[in-house]
Symmetry: C2
Subunit: 357 residues, 2 copies
């Protein structure tokens, strides 16, 4: 077993100083051609790679970014990670992930753990519990310590930072308008409780689309699912609730659901109740995941472009990190203002499949 070689060892072996080795490896012309050759050859032979930790300590930057998300076994979030990793890698950064598991406390612990030097900045999406508590001090605290944050999807006005969001409102509008165009008269909405902002925005989009189409909203056609109960593992509960909803509103001829699972469940229940899709009832869901693509019939969805969200988030963060470099450098000579915080909106797109006409 040969441990990784260090500058010091090379220096000793070649009987030169550490500084000489360092300079030679960076092709400094302070060092003679001869010794440079010799040192580089030796380094290559022993496969020398500078120690990242030492570099991090010296440069006071780690070249890694921290991702903090509520859940990873989730198509949207993993797609975002993929996007982040792509540009992070391209731009020379590593990616370290923390999972809040939708818990306020775990979110804080994770942040503190990572903020103590391990990373240069955060990309995160707020946990449900934090949204409920409306306690955002930990975000502001880490920003205050000079660590930039980029929030995506689940964002919040109380924190001043770059944000990347999907256009939930207009996505919902588009979806519902498509149903209206398809001659649907009684469009139902299946949504979540209001505290998750994305759910609220999609609901508002639904209402807006109805209104601008001259259709009066009917609160009987809105089903709010309490997602404090873990529907993912309680499918029957969800399905019976939807079934009950359908039965007491026989006139429903379309469903817009704020996520994939609700939409697919609605289709399943509708089929069981003998309705044909899309002839008797059309369905559109938000979030374009595996379920939508492979359901029977396949589901028309509003795609959020998770990967793009990840890529933009990473670019925003890294841009800011590398802009900080020069601004710190020129802190006293150059009085340029810091870049203002950016709120980037990713447009949604409707992917038409078999569940609509």
């Amino acid at each position: 077993m040969k441990r990784k070689i260090t500058l010091k060892q090379i220096a000793k072996e070649l009987d030169v100083s550490v500084s000489t080795v360092s300079k030679a490896l960076s092709n400094s012309k302070e060092i003679s051609e001869d010794t440079t050759q010799k040192i580089q050859a030796f380094a290559k032979l022993y496969n020398y790679k500078p120690n990242n930790i030492a570099l991090s300590l010296k440069n006071r930057k780690t070249k890694t970014i921290g991702i903090l998300i509520p859940e990873i076994v989730h198509h949207f979030f993993s797609t975002v990670i993929r996007g982040i990793e792509r540009v992070a890698n391209r731009r020379g950064y590593n990616v370290i992930v923390g999972l809040s598991n939708e818990s306020f406390t775990k979110e804080i612990i994770n942040m503190e753990m990572l903020a103590s030097g391990s990373i240069d900045g955060f990309i995160l999406s707020i946990s449900k519990e934090t949204l409920l508590k409306q306690d955002y001090h930990h975000f502001n605290a880490t920003i205050d310590q000079g660590m930039p944050i980029v929030m995506f999807d689940r964002v919040v006005n109380e924190v001043d930072c770059d944000k990347v969001i999907v256009d939930d409102f207009n996505g919902a509008v588009k979806a519902v308008k498509k149903l209206v165009e398809n001659d649907c008269k009684n469009i139902a909405l299946i949504t979540t409780m209001d505290y998750v902002s994305v759910g609220r925005l999609r609901t508002q989009g639904y209402l807006e689309a109805l209104q601008s189409s001259g259709i009066e909203a009917n609160s009987n056609l809105i089903l709010k699912i309490d997602d404090s109960l873990d529907v993912e593992n309680n499918l029957e509960v969800l399905e019976t609730e939807i079934a009950h909803f359908f039965k007491s509103n026989q006139n429903i001829d379309a469903v817009f659901a704020v996520n994939e699972l609700y939409a697919v469940s609605a289709m399943k229940v509708a089929s069981k109740l003998g309705m044909r899709i899309p002839d008797d009832i059309q369905v559109i869901g938000f979030t374009d995941g595996v379920l939508s693509k492979h359901a029977t019939p396949s589901l028309t969805t509003v795609s959020q472009h998770g990967q793009k969200i990840g890529e933009q988030s990473a670019n925003l963060l890294i841009d800011r990190l590398e802009a900080e470099d020069v601004s710190t450098e020129q802190y006293f000579t150059n009085n340029e203002k810091k870049r203002d915080f950016i709120k980037m909106v990713i447009e949604t797109e409707i992917i038409e499949r078999e569940s609509t006409k």
Copy 2:
């Protein structure tokens, strides 16, 4: 903006030495009660947290483990990550992820990037291209540099390290035997090309189960999908291939598929061809993901327990890392042998749903 405070700053502010501060914060009894109190109060006030990077450099360990997987938008892999993150977090480790994207080169680049000090050990699953090339020198090289590796799922004999695998062979056997018990006479297999070991093992399990049940294997009933074509985005290709397969083998009364997608596609095609599930044809898939749960009808599957795989992998790795500590310490006084490499087999489980009787 108040930057993070350091020992040196505390020392200066309180007019003591850095060593005193360090000792006081670790409750060393070398320091008097008074100064300890004073220092701890001050540290708490300014929310002092030791700098991880400095600690890593000093201790020559980073307390982070590197995950290197082919793909993250994938139910199985993200489940494994969740498992890893769980125990890593519990045991005080962070998790840094790299994505090989099934590419040999990206795998190597990622490994080298992480192996240069950023992590203490790897948990990884080999990329398809690497398996094809059968070139494993980068794994052996990093092991040789003293960095432990745990491989999961896609493992290989040529590398000596801890491994966590799912019992693909017996999982397949169980599945096929269940079909046999359910009175199926002509059980088809939908599988991949052979170079991914898990596909091969599942195929062998299929054959074994048939043989031990006294059924003669019929090569016409085996469909091999060329997964070099990206079926995920070419569903039609997959489906027409399966349709063709069904039409030329009208007697098929059951399908065992080596993954979820193939199984769900088979169900879809079967339905289109007018077969009823599970009455005319029963289906079992490998890998228990979202698709299986939410398909109509829902799919009976062989569950791989991805989270458990992740947890075990992390425990194996961390155990080894922390065992190394003492063995290094007592290197000369204690001649204990290193722990042998462990191959841990996670049993599969059949999750019965609507696609079987």
